[in-house]
Symmetry: C2
């Protein structure tokens, strides 16, 4: 059965090509030490076998720490590696078909670029949505124009399921994302390209907790 109440506070999305020559496993290990709460393995370049092997290594490592492992795009790899979930973009499998295959056994997250995408994802049973890109980002140059905070707020108001922001979010830009109702932030380069990924993760996590503490008072 899939994990309920997944903690999306600080959600790492991997990208080997931005990792300055370090392995994905090394980055994830450092990020976990620093406090990430969820990990998405994204790999558009490796063979299926290599992607699977990395997924299985991460699954073994993260399982004991109770940190969910989400696989980008490849539902077959998520199933074979017994990951906690799959994250689907608008060019990946449609949510309805993916849910039909995995039933309630897996978390399914959906990338959304508009209010319509988000409402559709919620209606069809997504466990969370990631709104992208919040800011412009060099990580995925093929994405839609930035939603900005106005776009984020519209999506937040349109759905009740958990929501993370992604795209151009780092230490200096995360505060308004959290303040405007995102359940967390998803980051790629802010962690994977950091000189010290563990230290950078710790700073990001501390910043999120500080904002939340201030809000709850």
């Amino acid at each position: 059965m899939r994990i309920r109440n997944i903690d999306l506070s600080l959600y790492l999305v991997t990208d080997r090509s931005l990792s300055r020559g370090r392995s994905t496993f090394e980055i994830v290990k450092a990020a976990v030490q620093g406090g990430v709460t969820c990990v998405q393995l994204r790999d558009k370049k490796s063979s299926t076998r290599q992607f699977l092997q990395e997924a299985m290594s991460l699954r073994d490592f993260l399982k004991s720490l109770k940190i969910p492992l989400i696989i980008n795009d490849r539902l077959d790899i998520a199933m074979a590696a017994e990951a906690d979930g799959v994250h689907l973009g608008q060019d990946d499998l449609p949510l309805k078909l993916a849910r039909k295959i995995v039933k309630e056994k897996m978390i399914i997250g959906i990338s959304v670029e508009s209010v319509d995408d988000a409402v559709k994802a919620q209606t069809q049973g997504a466990d969370y949505v990631s709104a992208s890109p919040i800011y412009s980002t060099p990580t995925k140059p093929d994405t839609a124009p930035p939603l900005g905070l106005a776009g984020l707020i519209q999506i937040r108001n349109a759905v009740t399921i958990p929501l993370v922001g992604i795209g151009g979010i780092h230490l200096n830009t995360l505060e308004p994302v959290i303040r405007h109702g995102a359940n967390g932030i998803a980051v790629v380069s802010a962690i994977v390209s950091a000189v010290d990924p563990e230290a950078e993760t710790r700073k990001l996590k501390q910043a999120i907790l500080t904002i939340r503490n201030a809000e709850s008072q």
Copy 2:
């Protein structure tokens, strides 16, 4: 339940990049008119969504004709499109894990480059193997050295499950492959790059039937 006694006599493997600008659907339609008995959709370049859409179109077309549709590599797409099977290379999902996911519902074919690969595939429950490459081929330049007819014979003697040869097989080279015990031939460029794919398929099919008739007398 998966199709038993799949007819592998003339097995088309698609490749859009070798199709001279024609769509995969157009090639498949012509090949079906010409007499192919099985179709494998292979696509290493499209997005998951595009690959799925093509798989679904082909599934709808082929289903009424009772010609099996096999998806290359992507078990998730095979499942979502309700294809008849998946074909796995040595860099794709391991057979054991794929079988665990789809149980007996799907045909699973395995690419083998050696007797060891073939025996392992049979032991783990493959429905058929494709021995590759029989001859050297420009279609997949990254493959192992050609097995030749000697290699094909060794594999044929090592396993009892259905076997097709692939790699460099066309009208002038198919005869010894069939004579040495292959249940069929798999072709890419012989059909997809033909000026007239339907006519070329018909010639290939006729040649296979002629050899079989001569052998059974």
